[in-house]
Symmetry: C3
Subunit: 318 residues, 3 copies
């Protein structure tokens, strides 16, 4: 089976992961997103590109925030959007998941936006569609387990390019719970693909995957050292469910060592930008003053995220 | 009170049940559904027939799947759809249900799609609208208790006609838990109305209603005998809540006796079609190989279901 | 900070409360609502006034009924509506609420319809938008704690004006649990603003706020005496959670003393209208015969409520 994300002409068939996504397509998505940022500034924030298309937000894991970004993006493209919050319990078996998909395909779905607690679920769906010969139906991974969150990775790249321009001269640090973060995986893949020469991950040993160096990153266990002279700081969210777990000290202790404060920020370049995928735990991974400070580009990330999702949806549907 | 489903000119006022629905209207719905199957094949799957109409999906019983089919059908007709998941607890009293209806009528609702655990709830609503003189508001029964699920019955008839043509030459078997099935009731009414000469129900005595023969069916307690030479097999879903109940052995034992396997399927005519209203319990009422086999028309049922619902909605609203 | 509800030209910037809303604006809303009642009578109940606008229904407190009225109003104005049911737990800290708002602003929201259990939450949001310089984003208070429910107050005023005309000649009684009622607060503010000379509140001491006379009302602890010769009776809903509390006897005893029966209604003027914000507890605050009787205008309130919300939304967005 060929790269499941690409159609027979090498165009984008699904967006499942940034791992292995060709550089040209990644750049094409960023390029296509640019004009969509302008749509949002207009009086009528709507384009007829996906009129009459049926997009299903298939959320097997609850995420109001992410669902909203896709819903807004789809509605601004004039698509018909149906939200399905499917409890994982009713689809415990993979077979049952695919029966759900078959049913929605039979309703002439055009696109699935899939969020699932199990790594690989969107791939399973994409492979099933391929086996059924349904190349008219497209899958977007909106976060699967610890695996990938490609639209988040893309909007992060859009943001970096917007503020920093040339990727090939940058030093970028990713800070925090890399081990459990699908966001970090997608970010690293994209940064490698785009030729960022220095990619650092910063965190405690217990929250970094073993052998992560093989992804092409440098590991730092001292935050100040890791931040030294970087151009971009990408903070990760500390999942609430981790906070009281065995892997971590208290949130207060975590903050002391791994939280981004103004003092630590000074180790980075003076024009470094600070990013966060949201929602933030203020006072845990990041100090409020930094989150709201002049170097933070956290809210522009959200804005660019809508444009990037509109770009992906319009590329898939065309 | 006249037939509550018909308006004063004999047209369709509500769709509450297939019991007593005139044959001409039933056939008219099937005829009207045909062009809607083509809409779904188009680039822009949308018609302006219900533009500006307000359709309320009133689900007093949760059913993501059925709600989705009506939502898609309504949106493809350009209606404004509002989903209301009303917990039965807050409307325990019939009075309270009708207060809810009165309120939505006061918001200028055009149509209610009603799912309710209590048999007869959509009738109660239709009668109330009649008493209020609101003949501009229409009710579709999306499943009420054990009573009826008319759009399911209609899409089943559409499917049979699509594959088998003339109803008056067919032998049809309905298999499984007929006792608790609103689907079976709607199917039998429609098959009788359309002149099917041989309608069989197959199942254990504990899961067949007493005196079901009076509906015009033949009863079989031996599945192989019941399937012999039939043209159409309509499997019923075994409700999960029944599976561990007193009426039934284990799912495995049920499957052994009443599950549709390839071996049992051979008793039917070689060109027999296999239907199921979904969602399927694979390995309980049906073997996976049969469900995915060449004779299964289970996914076309879903596709035709959207078209049938579009047809019903457009007939009601016009 | 100037009146947070008004823009720099004195127009409507947010609708947060009727307390301090200038009389001209209040009357303008009522005037603007009138033509929207006619839209609902049309074949196509839709206007393009808010096409391409993104309206977020931000419900931190569950209310299917109120959410539905705003959703219908927004869809009839052709807006894109996104429903967000945000559990208060995830936004326990005010900071977190404002992070949610910042995120939605970054998605180019045009309007927030906010329901919150905490009094003042919509003000907090409005002030935050002001501090961020986002005068392009508007807030409608859909009920905050015990504080205010301005669209309910406005639709009540619309209803009174529709049936009674001149406010300056009226005697109006508000009956029941005034203490916990945001509706009563909004009603009193509006009645005072519109120059109603006689505003009465009727209820037990335990359910009336201390010093309520300072709002410009007369207090009655005898219902018959309070209803004598009034033109308008506005019943309040008895919150279910109060019913078994320490402040109240049983619902039956409450009904006996404070429920509106036909007998008590006779103390009012013969042409008095009976109003209720819904949902009604029949047999608790109001007798069914009165609720469905000739003097009740409870369902017209609902109809006018859609028109008033359309008027507010279109004024804010223009």
């Amino acid at each position: 089976m060929r790269n499941p994300q690409l159609d027979k002409n090498g165009g984008l068939q699904h967006l499942l992961t940034l791992d292995g996504l060709p550089r040209e397509i990644l750049v094409e998505i960023l390029d296509n997103a640019a004009p969509f940022t302008e749509v949002a500034e207009r009086e009528v924030k709507k384009l007829p590109l996906l009129r009459g298309k049926s997009i299903f937000n298939l959320f097997f894991e609850n995420s109001t925030r992410t669902r909203t970004t896709f819903e807004i993006a789809a509605k601004r493209l004039s698509a018909d959007v149906v939200n399905l919050n499917v409890s994982t319990s009713s689809t415990a078996k993979g077979e049952s998941l695919l029966d759900t998909i078959d049913n929605l395909c039979a309703m002439q779905a055009d696109m699935f936006v899939v969020r699932h607690a199990a790594s690989g679920a969107p791939f399973l769906i994409a492979r099933h569609l391929y086996e059924q010969g349904r190349d008219d139906i497209h899958v977007i991974n909106a976060g699967d387990g610890r695996h990938a969150h490609p639209t988040q990775g893309l909007l992060d790249m859009y943001t970096i390019r917007h503020y920093k321009g040339d990727f090939t001269k940058l030093s970028v640090a990713i800070v925090g719970d890399v081990l459990h973060s699908r966001v970090a995986r997608s970010q690293i893949c994209a940064l490698v693909t785009l030729g960022v020469p220095e990619i650092r991950v910063i965190g405690p040993k217990t929250l970094l995957p073993t052998e992560i160096e093989k992804m092409g990153v440098r590991v730092f266990h001292d935050m100040r050292e890791g931040l030294r002279d970087v151009d971009v700081i990408m903070m990760l969210r500390l999942q609430n469910e981790r906070m009281n777990g065995a892997l971590l000290p208290t949130p207060q202790e975590f903050y002391k060592v791994w939280g981004l404060t103004g003092e630590k920020l000074e180790y980075a370049r003076p024009d470094a930008i600070v990013m966060h995928p949201g929602p933030m735990n203020r006072g845990v991974e990041i100090d409020s003053a930094v989150a709201d400070g002049a170097q933070a580009v956290i809210l522009p990330q959200v804005t660019f995220g809508i444009a990037v999702r509109m770009a992906v949806m319009s590329m898939l549907a065309s």
